[in-house]
Structures are given as C-alpha cells and as structure tokens.
C-alpha cells in the first residue's frame, strides 16, 4: 500500500467530480438555450421582473468569496493559520449573504404569485412560465450547491482549527475551494442569462 499521499491524484479525482457537476447543470442549460431561442421576447419580459441590483450584489458577493477562498489556500500554504481561518469564515459569511438574498428574492416572487404552477404563470404567457420555471429550477439547484459548498468549507474550517489540515496536507481545503469556485462559475453564467437578458 502506498503510504505517501498523491496530492495530484486527489486533485484529479476532484476535477473529474467537477466535470460531472458541470454537465449536471449543462442539461439545464440545454433547456434554457432551446427555450431562449423559442421565447426570446418573453424571456426578456420575465427578466425585467427580476431585480438586477440584487442579482449584481449576489454576483459580487460570490466573486469576493471566491477570492477569499483562494486567499485562504495561499494563507495555508504560507502556514498563516489565523489568516486561513479568517478568509474561510468570510467566505462562509458570503455564502450566507447570498442565500439570504435568494430567500428574499424568491419570497418576493412567490408573494406576487410567480412560482411553479401558480395561477399567474399558468394563465399567462407560456414563454414567461418557462422562463420562471427554469429560473426556479436552476437557481434552486444552484442554491443547493451553495449550501453543500458551505458545508465543505465549514468542515475544512474545523479541520484547519484542529490541525488536521496543514501546509503539507491540505487537499481537503483545496478541493472544497474548487467546489466553491464551481458554484461561483455557474452563477457567473446564471446571472446574465436570467437578470441581463432584457
């Protein structure tokens, strides 16, 4: 049995997993692309109902959190444990802010009778129904991944605090970071496709 840890191998495994996540969302983007083609004006109409400001804030929040996650790894590589912890905490906080924004966004839409199978959507334009159907499914699945990412970052945080993650052994942190960046990548596409297609 090999007693040395193969970091490159662990990282390769993580990238392979990320590919599967990319394709998972990819299926939803197939639907989006096909329906955008069919319902372009109605997608624009639906997009106008989404709050561009909240969307931009969420985008900025995730981008900053990606920075802090990458920075936490630099800090770990330099053995600056306190910085690592600080950056991770900040990243997790960004995740919370993102989810809170999402909660308010969804809440507002639901309050205005815009949700799957609602009276407004069913009796309105089919193109608008599809737009919001995709909106809920894609941002919902994305939100689930934000939660998973936060769990992974939290576990990494605990491992850093308890000394299980060290400058010579930080694959867990590295891979949790990669997962978080993936969450950011997906949002970078979701944002213009839903909020800026006007």
């Amino acid at each position: 049995m090999s007693s040395q840890i193969d970091r490159a191998g662990i990282k390769l495994g993580m990238w392979l997993f990320l590919y599967s996540e990319i394709i998972l969302f990819g299926g939803l983007f197939v639907l989006y692309a096909a329906y955008l083609h069919r319902y372009s004006e109605f997608f624009a109409e639906g997009g106008k109902e989404l709050d561009r400001m909240i969307g931009t804030i969420n985008t900025v929040v995730l981008l900053i959190s990606s920075f802090t996650v990458a920075a936490s790894i630099t800090a770990m590589q330099r053995n600056a444990k306190k910085q690592t912890v600080g950056f991770l905490l900040f990243s997790i906080a960004c995740g919370i802010i993102f989810l809170v924004n999402k909660y308010f966004e969804w809440g507002a839409k639901i309050h205005h009778d815009i949700y799957p199978n609602s009276e407004t959507l069913v009796s309105g334009e089919p193109g608008v129904n599809i737009f919001f159907g995709l909106y809920y499914v894609i941002t919902g699945l994305h939100g689930l991944h934000v939660i998973i990412g936060m769990v992974l970052l939290s576990i990494s945080l605990v491992f850093v605090l308890t000394g299980k993650i060290t400058p010579s052994r930080f694959s867990m942190l590295d891979n949790s970071g990669l997962y978080w960046h993936l969450v950011d990548l997906i949002w970078i596409f979701v944002f213009p496709l839903f909020y800026l297609v006007l």
Partner: protein, 543 residues
Amino acid sequence: MTATQSFYHASAPPGLTGIKAWLLTHDHKRLGLMYLGAITFWFVLAMFLGLLLRTELMSQGRTIMNAETYNAFFTLHGVIMIFLFMIPGIPAIFGNFFLPIQLGTDDVFFPRLNLFSWYLFMFGGLFAILSLFAGEGFPDTGWTFYVPFSVGITSNVGLTVTAAFILGMSSMLTGLNFVTTFHRMRDKSMGLMQIPLFTWSLYATAWVQILATPVISITFVLIILERFLHIGLFDPDKGGDPLLYQHLFWMYSHPAVYVMILPGMGVISEIIPVFSRKSIFGYKAIVWSSMAIAIAGSLVWAHHMFTSGMSDVSVFAFSLLTYIVAIPSAVKVFSWVSTMYKGSIEMTPPLLLSLIFIYLFSVGGLTGLVLGSAGTNIHVHDTHFVVGHFHFVMFGGTGFAFFAALHFWWPKMFGVMYRFKPAYIGAVLTGVGFFFHYVPMLILGMQGMPRRYYDYLPQYETGNFLAGFGGYLLIIGMMIMFVNLLMSFRQRVPAPADPWGATTLEWTVPSPPPVHNFIQKPQIEGFPYDFTRVSERFQQSGK
C-alpha cells in the same frame, strides 16, 4: 506466509473478520465479488421477467397475465437489465477485480469511494424494490419514462427514477475512480501503449460514465420536479416541449449503450489472443477505436427520435453521424478475426463464447444500420425489429461477453477450475436458443408488429410462438452454464496461476490473488501480448 495468503484469508483494511471483512472492505477484489453476487441476483430476476413476458406473447390474447401487468413487467425488465445489470456489470465486477492488477498496482485510487459506490448500488436496488411494492405500484411507462405519461400517472415513477439516479451516482463514481487509478497508479514502467486492452476499454467507458451520467441525473430530477411542482417544462399547455425530454434522456441513454458494450469488447480483446496464442492484431487501432466509440457514441443520440417530430435537419444530421460510429466497431471485429488468422487456436469455453459474441454482435450491428438510416427507420421504429436489434448487441454482445469473462477469469477469482463439457453445452444451447428467440423478432418487426404491445394481430402468432420456444432454450442454456460454474466449488479442482497461457499481469499472481495482489514487484513486459514465452512453456510441456 501472510504475503501469499489469498485475499479471502486477509482483509484490507487489516484486522476485519467475518461479515465485516466484506461490508467494510476496501479491497477491490472483494468489492468485485460483492457486485457479482448482487448483479447475478438482478440478472436472474430480470431474465425470468423476460421469460414471463415472452410466455405471455406466445399466444394471442391473454396467456398468463393481464395487460397492466405486462406493461409493468416490460418496464421492470428494462429498468433492471439496463441499470442493475448491463451498465454496472462488467466494469463493477471484472473492472474492479482486474483493473488494478492489470496496471500492476494494489488497489484503485479511492478504495473507500469504491466501497461507497457499492453501497450506492445496493441502495439504488433497494429503492427499485421499494417502488415495486409501495403506493400505486410499479410504473408502466417503459424504462424510457417518456413525458407526458411519466409525469401524469400515479404509479411509483418518482421512486423508480430515484433508484436510477442513485445507481447513476454509483456508476459515475466508479468511472471517476478508474480514470484516477489509470493515470496515477499504474506501474512506473508501464507506458500508455503497454496497458492491456481490457483496462483501456474500461478507461474509455469511465469517461462516458463521468460525462454522460449527469445528464440522466438531471433529467430524472426534472421528472420528479414536474410530478410534484407541475412546472410545465415539458408540457405544451404551459409552453414546454416534450421532445426536449427525449433529447435529454437519449443524451445519456445512447452513450450508455457504449458503456455497456465497450468493456465487453475489452474482454474479447483479452480472450482472443490467448486462445490464438498470438499477439492481438492492431493493438493501437483497438485503443484508438475504443476512444473513438466513446466519443462518436456521444454524438448520435437523436437517432432514437427520427419519428418524434423533430426537424428534418436533425434527422439528416443524426443519421449521418450514426453511420460514423459503425466504423470503429468494425475495426475491432477485423482486429479480432485477424488475430485468429494463422494463430494456434485452442478451443475453450471463453473462446467459444467470444466467437459467439463476435457473430451475434456483428449481426446486431448490421441491424443497427437499418435503424440508423432515417428512411428505413420509419418503417421499423417502435417495432419488434428494434427489440431484436438491441438484444442482439446487448445480450448477444455484452451478455455473451459477460459469460466469456466469467469463464475466463473464474479460475483466477475463485482458485478452482470448472468442467468444460457442460460449459460448451450450455454455451451452444444459449446460442441456439438466442437465435430462435431473437431472429423471429427481427422478422416480426419488419412485418409490422409493434413493440411493447400486450396483444397482436393473428399473423404474428407463429413468430411469437417460435420466439417463446427459443426463450426457453435460452434459459436452459444459461442455467447449465451457471450451475456448471457453481459446481466448480463442489469439485474443487485447483487452478494454477495461469491455466490458459495468458500474458497480462493478473495471470502472474496466484489464483486467487493475495490481498495486495503482488508478492514481488510485477515485471512489465515491453508489450502486453507477447506470447513467445508462453509458446516456449507449452512446447516444453509437450502441449
């Protein structure tokens, strides 16, 4: 001498005994056998379902069951065969057992993830069983779960697609494990062009498992969401397009058939050289064709949709692409046959089963050309011709490759030899039964008998009766093979490390292998199919 104890007597991680040594194992060999047990159960169950279906069809009108039961049964037969036997089959059993050994290493890269994959497989199977008995009963949508039917009905579609989702995760993680092992753990002196062809086929398959499976995952998630939330993504009344479901479904399910066949082809590529005592013809061509099949197979999904109402452009494009996939498959068939040419043929059960594979798979592939050509497709779409086609390639192909793999690697896995004569009888009976069972279906389909129909017009009765008769022969043949293999445990004829005269690394270790596979560091040959030493050894012993 603990280093040479077989893996049955030592556990990895060390110190486990009894049932824990199996349920908590990291050993890829034990996992392979655990998959063998579970998958055999599912295969036998689905096989009997198939027999019941064909018995029902042997005469017009009701024979042994009503229409609702028939529909549920063909759905169940498909779901089990595809998700619980064909897709995991060869990779999870033989891939797990032999990929690390063929690469000269002691396990896969992520052993605990491997164990988790097995639990996911068992859990998915459990969900499938649950969906049989819970609520309103098993779905009758066919394994393809087309909308709007799958979204609207009250039977347990949700549970069944959840089972398939879990099984998909198991498959994806196995692929992930194999790719990482392939790149990071093979012996330092083994270059890419020295890797055995079975492992290469598993590598090509693994990429499809990683990249295609997530599409069906999201598709099944959407089915569940539609059932509960009625979003309307596939509902024309709400702006949806049912054809997009079909696109998403087949984006996985077509590459899935290459997940099913590629490892089988890998098995054949291992067996043919051994029993021709000659190096494989066109090693590089087979490597490239495996990757080409994986890639090209992912480009052709909509050939399942020629009559669905999709655009003519699409029909043309996918028909053209489908013909391209045939080419790398043909390369393999030529290579296998060329390997045997001027070889020193030794007939054994694995070879006989491989030869039957080559014949049945080729026939199946040819019928695929009829289906792939859009014009002729319109005549045979959704008829029994399709049923004949895919059983030729999946059963005549992968099924027989599975039997061949069992007979080839049985002595290595269990340390005992089986009797040849019953194996030959079983194999021939299975082949003859296969012929009588599926050729009538090709003809019935051409004559217009639809698939998934409980009843039919009088002119189809003879063909259906013949098919049923063939089905019973088929089952008897398979039972003979299985019982014969099981009897080897009673007969206990010990098998040497290399009973066949083979050259890949699994034949250099004891039968069964020790827990860490190799006692001494493996010697990597310049080329994995060099039979000069094997020939010398056999010449010396006077064979």
